[in-house]
């Protein structure tokens, strides 16, 4: 099996959407715990770049969110103590902890998602939706660095001509406006050449297809199947109320039914899928190495 991040971008996107979607609509501490363990350990395993500082930032954010809720929300029956005539309730504290935890977990997940999904992978996902959209995005992405470079060239040229002044802010704004207006003219001129180049290669004559370097392999299908099955089980569990968790007025949760058990297991599997794949791949390399 390949490591998680080398899987097909569509599968990766579906995976993250499922994990995040279920987590955000559940408000269930068990699901949160599963998701957090999955997301946090995956971040630890995958990216060495995540520094202690950013972990501390997430921790700080979590504490802040957990504290804010009980300060403003006074619902709940179990009063822990009173500050300035406002009761601080156990239920509100738990709610704060859970919602703060969800937010931080989602941030961890997004972080992994944005690191894994490089620009061309995102483009591929959009391209699979519509080849036209993919082309537009790709052209846009081409223009951004082109324009930036161009603006720099123009500004430097004008400066050496003594026409671009930075002595005071008014001059600078004036000079920047000039550069901007030249940039627009240039972009329009440039557009004609680009349009010619597109027409010369038969653009608009036939229905376009979309070429990509990504393949949809058997392992991708397997992962997609696993993701969808697990998500479906969890969602069914949620729909039948097996995962219900009530915060106010008092904390209440139903007894663990077989359906609930299945749903929790399914979400747990979903949460650890990336770590399992990652570890398996690493072990495989170790094994191969020892053979070589």
């Amino acid at each position: 099996m390949r490591s998680f991040e080398t899987c097909n971008p569509i599968v990766i996107t579906v995976y993250f959407l499922s994990v995040i979607g279920i987590l955000m609509f559940s408000l269930n501490p068990v699901l949160l715990l599963l998701a957090f363990l999955g997301a946090f350990s995956y971040t630890l395993i995958r990216s060495k770049s995540v520094s202690l500082k950013s972990h501390l930032f997430y921790l700080g954010l979590f504490v802040l969110l957990a504290l804010i809720n009980p300060l403003f929300s006074h619902n709940g029956k179990t009063v822990l103590f009173v500050i300035n005539d406002s009761p601080i309730t156990l239920e509100a504290v738990i709610y704060g902890v859970v919602s703060g935890g969800i937010l931080v977990t989602v941030l961890y997940l997004f972080r992994s998602f944005s690191e894994i999904m490089t620009r061309d992978k995102l483009l591929y996902v959009f391209g699979s939706l519509s080849p036209k959209l993919a082309l537009i995005l790709s052209m846009g992405l081409r223009y951004v660095p082109l324009f930036r470079e161009r603006a720099k060239t123009i500004a430097e040229s004008q400066k050496a001509l003594g026409l671009y002044k930075e002595d005071n802010i008014l001059d600078k704004i004036k000079s920047d406006l000039r550069v901007f207006s030249v940039l627009i003219t240039w972009a329009l001129e440039n557009g004609i050449t680009t349009a010619d180049s597109m027409a010369a290669r038969g653009y608009g004559k036939r229905r376009r297809t979309y070429f990509t370097l990504f393949r949809f392999r058997k392992s991708d299908a397997l992962l997609l199947f696993a993701t969808l099955t697990c998500s479906a089980l969890t969602v069914i569990g949620m729909a039948f109320g097996a995962l219900d968790f009530i915060f106010y007025p008092t904390l209440e949760w139903g007894s663990l039914t077989p359906l609930g058990m299945a749903a929790y297991t399914a979400y747990g599997v979903l949460a650890v899928l990336p770590i399992v794949l990652e570890t398996e791949e690493r072990l495989q390399w170790k094994y191969l190495q020892s053979k070589i």
Binding site: R119, D120, P131, L135, S138, M139, L141, R142, P145, L146, E149, R150, T153, I154, E156, S157, Q158, K159, A160, L161, G162, L163, K165, D167, R178, S181, V182, T185, W186, E189, N190, T193, T194, D196, S197, M198, A199, A200, R201, G202, Y203, G204, K205, R206, R207, R208, T209, Y210, F211, T212, L213
Partner: protein, 542 residues
């Protein structure tokens, strides 16, 4: 087999009275390499675009163009490929591989077919190493090669190129042309190319077409056509060195095209008793215009030095050319001198005053100005007239005439015209030191000569000129002193004759052609002068 037939073709732009292409007729055989040349505005690009219907400008067309016997309007776009001049603007997408696939996607081909063709092309062109790179990180030469590859991937029968190398440095240009020749030779691809840099492309071609004022004046093998050109033809100035020596000596017989043929031509016909041209010792003024002392520069702290202890002096009232390869730091040195970039160690003095001590706009008024490589970045307005008014330029004071260009849009100017208008604009600040970055990019031989004339006039008016260029021929003709830039430093300085006759590889075609036979000839004129002075060999020697 005949691939393209043009029968009595005339084309007139809307709102124009005179036809731009006038009763042109010729045919191209399959697998031929055809060069189309002519002066700027002669209609060569217009003619070329008539063969690519998707991008042909509208206007009234009379005559007939057939492609494999069928009218050209019925030909599918993928049969004829087109590569334009500016590498940046004809690339459509952001990644190398997606650009390669672009044309095939337009044809609606399936993923697996595209994958195979793209892979084939990438291997053939040697672009596997940068296959997944962003287009914006490529060099100009790579971009142009990518443009060619992304046309070739569609398997065209014929490929049209409109001055494809004009924006490239000489090495990238040679690579590009070599690739083109390889395609022509290996796949019998029919090539039609509009070019002004003819030194290298003419020896490769089978057929040379010359257009003058919309009329096809010559059509034949390059040897015949060049021998047939008149001595006063301005087109001759863009021709290969060997051919120009042949013309300068009004020789007869087969016209030499390459350096090797040129050498044989001179050796077999002319004696070499007199080896060198006597020249007066060069003396420069004692006053310094620009001095670099141990200058160090890098773009970012973490990056390596670009200028490594650079020291040189340009004296007042001389034309100083800095030559050197790509990425050697020439352009960076120039922008440091112009105060656009700040050096971190060493000293730059402009007219014996530290660069740092110039405050406000002082440096750019009556002192120094930089004409950048990319001329379009100089222009801000909609017409040349506004452009010149904006810069407060006085046209009557210029050493050249611009009056016929005043109502044109700056972007519509040809390379040579653009260069002169930009020059007019920078001269408005009355600089005493003019810095120029690659002024001959995109200019043909005639335009180069005009530019040299302008620079000589400026020099007479007391202006010092510092030029950074790849163009060794240009430097040999116009410089008072030349310097070779290598890895952030200047390694040798001398007058063009010393400089180029001492170099063996980094030198002019004329010098390469005659090295060892004559001692210090570096231009076509030098060779011609020595040949005349030595006289013909006797019949017995020939």
């Amino acid at each position: 087999m005949e691939i393209l037939a043009v029968k009595d073709l005339s084309f007139t732009y809307p709102m124009c009275e005179r036809p731009c292409v006038n009763h042109v007729r010729f045919t191209v055989d399959s697998g031929e390499f055809v060069v189309l040349c002519g002066a700027t505005g002669s209609g060569k690009s217009t003619l070329l675009r008539r063969f690519k219907r998707e991008i042909a400008p509208s206007g009234s067309e009379i005559g007939e163009i057939t492609f494999f016997g069928k009218p050209i309007a019925e030909i599918a776009p993928e049969k004829i490929g087109f590569v334009a001049q500016r590498p940046d603007e004809q690339i459509v997408t952001d990644k190398v591989y997606s650009e390669l696939a672009f044309g095939l996607e337009n044809l609606g081909l399936s993923q697996s077919v595209i994958a195979r063709r793209v892979a084939e092309m990438a291997s053939y062109f040697g672009i596997e190493d940068w296959f997944e790179r962003d287009v914006s990180t490529l060099s100009g030469g790579q971009k142009q090669l990518l443009s060619l590859a992304s046309v070739m991937v569609m398997n065209p029968e014929m490929i049209l190129l409109d001055e494809p190398t004009s924006q490239l440095d000489p090495i990238a240009a040679s690579d590009f042309l070599a690739t083109l020749k390889k395609l022509n030779r290996d796949f019998s691809l029919t090539v039609m190319i509009v070019e002004h840099r003819l030194e290298e492309v003419i020896p490769m071609c089978d057929k040379l077409l010359v257009i003058q004022d919309g009329v096809l004046t010559h059509n034949g093998s390059p040897r015949e056509v060049i021998a047939d050109l008149k001595a006063e033809d301005s087109l001759l100035e863009s021709m290969p060195t060997a051919a120009r020596v042949y013309h300068a000596l009004s020789a007869d017989g087969a016209c030499p095209l390459t350096v090797r043929e040129g050498r044989r031509f001179v050796e077999s016909r002319y004696q070499n008793r007199i080896q060198s041209i006597v020249e007066a010792a060069y003396t420069h003024s004692q006053r310094q215009a620009l001095a670099f002392r141990d200058v160090f520069f890098r773009y970012e702290r973490a990056l390596p030095d670009v200028l490594k202890g650079l020291s040189f002096t340009v004296y007042e009232n001389e034309i100083f050319c800095i030559l050197g390869g790509n990425g050697s730091g020439k352009t960076t040195a120039l922008s440091c001198a112009a105060g656009v970039r700040k050096i971190y160690s060493g000293q730059i003095r402009v007219f014996d005053k530290k660069l740092k001590d110039y405050t406000g706009g002082e440096l750019y008024q009556n002192c120094l100005t930089l004409l950048p490589q990319d001329i379009q970045s100089v222009f801000l307005c909609n017409t040349v007239r506004e452009e010149l008014e904006d810069a407060k330029a006085d046209i009557s004071m210029l050493p050249f005439d611009l009056s016929h260009l005043l109502d044109k849009h700056p972007y519509d100017l040809s390379g040579g015209e653009g260069q002169l208008v930009a020059l007019a604009k920078v001269l408005a600040t009355k600089p005493r030191l003019l810095l120029m970055d690659e002024p001959t990019k995109g200019l043909d031989g005639e335009k180069k000569r005009i530019l040299i004339g302008v620079l000589q006039k400026l020099k007479t008016n007391g202006v010092t000129v510092l030029i950074v260029t790849h163009d060794v021929e240009f430097a040999a003709m116009c410089a008072d002193r030349c310097a070779l830039f290598f890895r952030g430093n200047i390694v040798s300085v001398g007058t063009p004759r010393e400089f180029f006759s001492e170099n063996s590889f980094y030198t002019t075609a004329a010098s390469r052609m005659i090295k060892g036979y004559y001692a210090n000839a570096v231009t076509v004129e030098d060779i011609a002068e020595l040949c005349r002075a030595n006289g013909r060999k006797g019949n017995g020697d020939a």
